[in-house]
Amino acid sequence: MRPWSLLLVLLVALPLVAGVATLPPHDAPDAPIHTQVGALYLERGVAETGMKNLVTAVLLNYRGFDTFIEVVVIFTALAAVLALPKGSAPLPKGNAPLPKGSAPVPKGNAPLPQPDAARSQGVGGARSREEEAPEVASDVPVSPVVRFVVRLLAPFIAMFAVAMLFRGHITPGGGFQAAAVFAAVFIALGLVLGQDRAARLVPVDWRPWLQGVAPLAFALVAWIGWRLTGAFLGYPIDDHTVQEAMGFVLEIAIAVGGGVVLARIFLEMET
């Protein structure tokens, strides 16, 4: 297998090297990437969007639709994890659920409503017992020092994320970074305190709304922009207060929605 893999990698590498070798040099100021749309953004960005951090301006304003679809992608990941079957129990032996109205099968042939049901029954159990127990248990005893430090630092890290969130339009940072930090704090707490207590941080009743809050907020802001400017996801170009407000709504929604989605993926994988 290995020689073939190396050959394949080489086959891919050669065209790629040839491709990148003929690109315009990357740090030349007159490369197309610096003279076309990008240059226009640099020139007019602050005036048009009211944001000093142009990456945030591109993310939320010029290419806001990309970001919309991007939050949809993380939501998709959560929906995917939630839709997967839970636990490891194979289907009950010999009588996988029969549709109603069908008689018992005369031959010893197990019906196969699910393609993998019968094929895996014999194998699954035996194999997993052979395997040695996982060397890293999921509920490792955590040293009291670590526990203390994590609990001590958690609020401060969360505050750092909040600061990053609210200054995202003038300094590096913004919704996604805050979301990732929120999720990291949550996961750290989950590992230290046990997930039951961590899970309480995201109340069950709110979850269905919180996990989808980012796409929903985007749709709302897109609608408001449509009413105000006549263009989907449009920002009123000369009203910086409204622009800023719309931007903040999006940033907060991305941070909360993204954080909740990542936290829930963590919870789902832990159980």
């Binding site: 790629l16 491709g19 003929t22 690109l23 315009p24 990357h26 490369a31 197309p32 990437i33 610096h34 003279t35 076309q36 749309v37 226009l40 304003n61 010029y62 290419r63 806001g64 639709f65 990309d66 679809i69 991007e70 949809v72 992608v73 939501f75 998709t76 929906a79 995917a80 939630l82 997967l84 079957p85 194979p90 996988a96 659920p97 549709p99 109205g101 069908s102 008689a103 018992p104 099968v105 005369p106 019906p111 409503p113 699910q114 393609p115 993998d116 094929r119 895996s120 269905p208 709304w209 989808g212 796409p215 929903l216 749709a219 897109a222 922009g225 263009a231 996801l233 449009g234 920002y235």
Partner: protein
């Protein structure tokens, strides 16, 4: 110049996506509500897309600058004749979702329904976006929505093997998406723009070059993987056979077409720029298409499992489409473009009918399903119509496109490929004869087959409707043809002929 419906363009994409985000909240008390919710959202989306198509028919292609920014400054959505594919796509979704209401009973517990329907809606929204976006990076992001939801949909129904098939699909699909991102970045570095029309213009100014060619190759490989063409088809059979039947219909009928639509978009960029001599690539497409046809048909013959057989037949039919595109003669390209839709219709019919049979009897192989036509006459008839249609016999939808592609082969003086096409159809025919023989003329071997009852109406309705559409479009096959013709004739001058 634009009418009222042009305003609906972004909402047609956003509606299913937002509907998906709301699904868990809507269904929080009664999980089964999610099915009706998804259906309602899709119905409204279908109305919106119908409006878009009517706008297209009335006033020709139109575009929408998101955020009020002009085309190459912000993100542009563009609705042209190839984007019109979103209408049949959504309509098929509308038909497939009611089928899944009852079908899911033996696939998953109720509490997993909301995320399942959310994934279906995301899949639909992602595909709509993919078809109408005019921005290369946006195209990539939509690809990811479609792919990610597809990986998950493969795995929802089963445990071990389904997860394995989904993971295989995920690895191959992720590499193909990555190649796409790489190619997008390369074109961006070369042209400084992400807007398709703008990139095309600037590539024309730059002229050719190795980097331009490598970007094209990366795109081509990426979309070949998405379309499951011959050398990179390995992910398809397991994934499509193991998924729950409504999902198989979606994946086999529509998601693989993402590769075809993407390929058309890249053709538009490159031929507009006239920077590459793509005759050689067309020839490669023709050969790969021909090999896909014969190979898919060949493997299909030896399958006993009906869903696996249908999955292989998808590879074969993608071969037809690609062959038609590669031949680059008007007839062939028109036939291929229409087959994108007709194959979706036929494959949905076949997978839903197969799903009904599996649902009612609990068996999925030909040898177990002997004599099923006696107890499930309507479903079996639908299966038969689908089979006749996919072989390409006259009074059905499949005939028109394959006839056009074959005509195109002779028109382009590529008669051998015309014969390859006919041989492929013959191979498939042998298989379906075997299937129909087993269904209709052999005595049942299992009691559950002999005593099976017809499916409930929520499942039988969609199947019967789709089967009759196969027949109707066979008779009225001219309508989609005349619709696609102007788009194809616009594109052809650049096509390398």
């Amino acid at each position: 110049m634009t009418g009222p419906w042009a305003e609906a363009l972004p909402w047609a994409i956003v509606l299913p996506l937002v509907g998906a985000a709301l699904t868990p909240a809507v269904a929080v008390r009664h999980p089964r509500v999610s099915g009706f919710w998804a259906w309602g959202v899709l119905l409204v989306t279908a109305v919106l897309t119908a409006g878009l198509v009517s706008e297209l028919v009335a006033r020709g292609p139109f575009s929408y600058g998101l955020g009020g920014w002009a085309a190459s400054y912000g993100i542009e959505l563009r609705f042209d004749h190839f984007s019109a594919w979103v209408l049949p796509l959504v309509v098929l979704f509308v038909v497939i979702v009611p089928f899944s209401w009852r079908y899911l009973d033996h696939v998953m517990p109720d509490e997993r329904r909301p995320p399942f329907y959310a994934l279906l809606l995301l899949n639909a929204g992602g595909m709509i976006g993919f078809c109408v976006t005019g921005d290369l990076f946006n195209l990539f992001v939509f690809t990811e929505v479609v792919s990610l939801s597809s990986y998950a949909l493969v795995a929802v129904g089963g445990r071990g093997l389904a997860a394995f098939a989904a993971l295989k699909y995920l690895f191959i699909g992720a590499v193909s998406s990555l190649l796409m991102l790489f190619a997008t970045a390369q074109l961006f570095v070369l042209s400084g723009s992400l807007n398709m029309a703008d990139v095309s213009l600037r590539l024309g100014e730059i002229g050719g070059g190795t980097a331009v060619m490598v970007a094209f190759a990366a795109y081509a490989v990426s979309f070949m993987v998405k379309a499951a063409m011959f050398p990179v088809h390995v992910w398809l059979p397991d994934a499509h056979a193991i998924a729950p039947s409504p999902v198989s219909a979606v994946l086999s009928g529509m998601v693989v077409k993402v590769g075809i639509v993407g390929m058309l978009r890249i053709y538009q960029i490159y031929f507009g720029a006239e920077v590459l001599e793509l005759g050689a690539f067309n020839l490669a497409l023709v050969w790969l298409g021909a090999i896909s046809i014969v190979m898919g048909a060949f493997f299909a013959i030896f399958q006993d499992d009906i869903k696996l057989m249908l999955a292989y037949s998808t590879i074969s039919n993608i071969g037809y489409i690609v062959l038609g595109l590669g031949l680059a003669s008007p007839y062939a390209v028109i036939g291929a473009a229409v087959h994108v839709f007709n194959h979706a219709l036929i494959k949905a019919t076949l997978f839903l009918a197969a799903g009904s049979i599996i649902h009612q009897t609990g068996f999925r192989t030909l040898s177990d399903l002997r004599g099923v036509a006696r107890t499930m006459p309507q479903t079996s008839a639908a299966m038969a119509i689908g089979a006749v249609s996919i072989v390409g016999l006259p009074p059905t939808a499949g005939f028109v496109c394959k006839w056009y592609i074959a005509l195109g082969a002779f028109e382009a003086n590529q008669a051998p490929f015309g014969f390859a096409l006919v041989f492929g159809a013959l191979f498939i025919f042998i298989y379906y004869i075997r299937m129909l023989n087993a269904f209709y003329f052999q005595p049942p071997v299992h009691a559950s087959v002999a005593q099976a009852s017809e499916t409930p109406w929520s499942m039988r309705g969609p199947v019967v409707l789709l089967a009759s559409l196969c027949l109707i479009l066979g008779v009225l096959g001219g309508i989609p043809l005349t619709f696609v013709e102007p788009a194809v004739l616009d594109l052809l001058p650049f096509w390398g002929q």
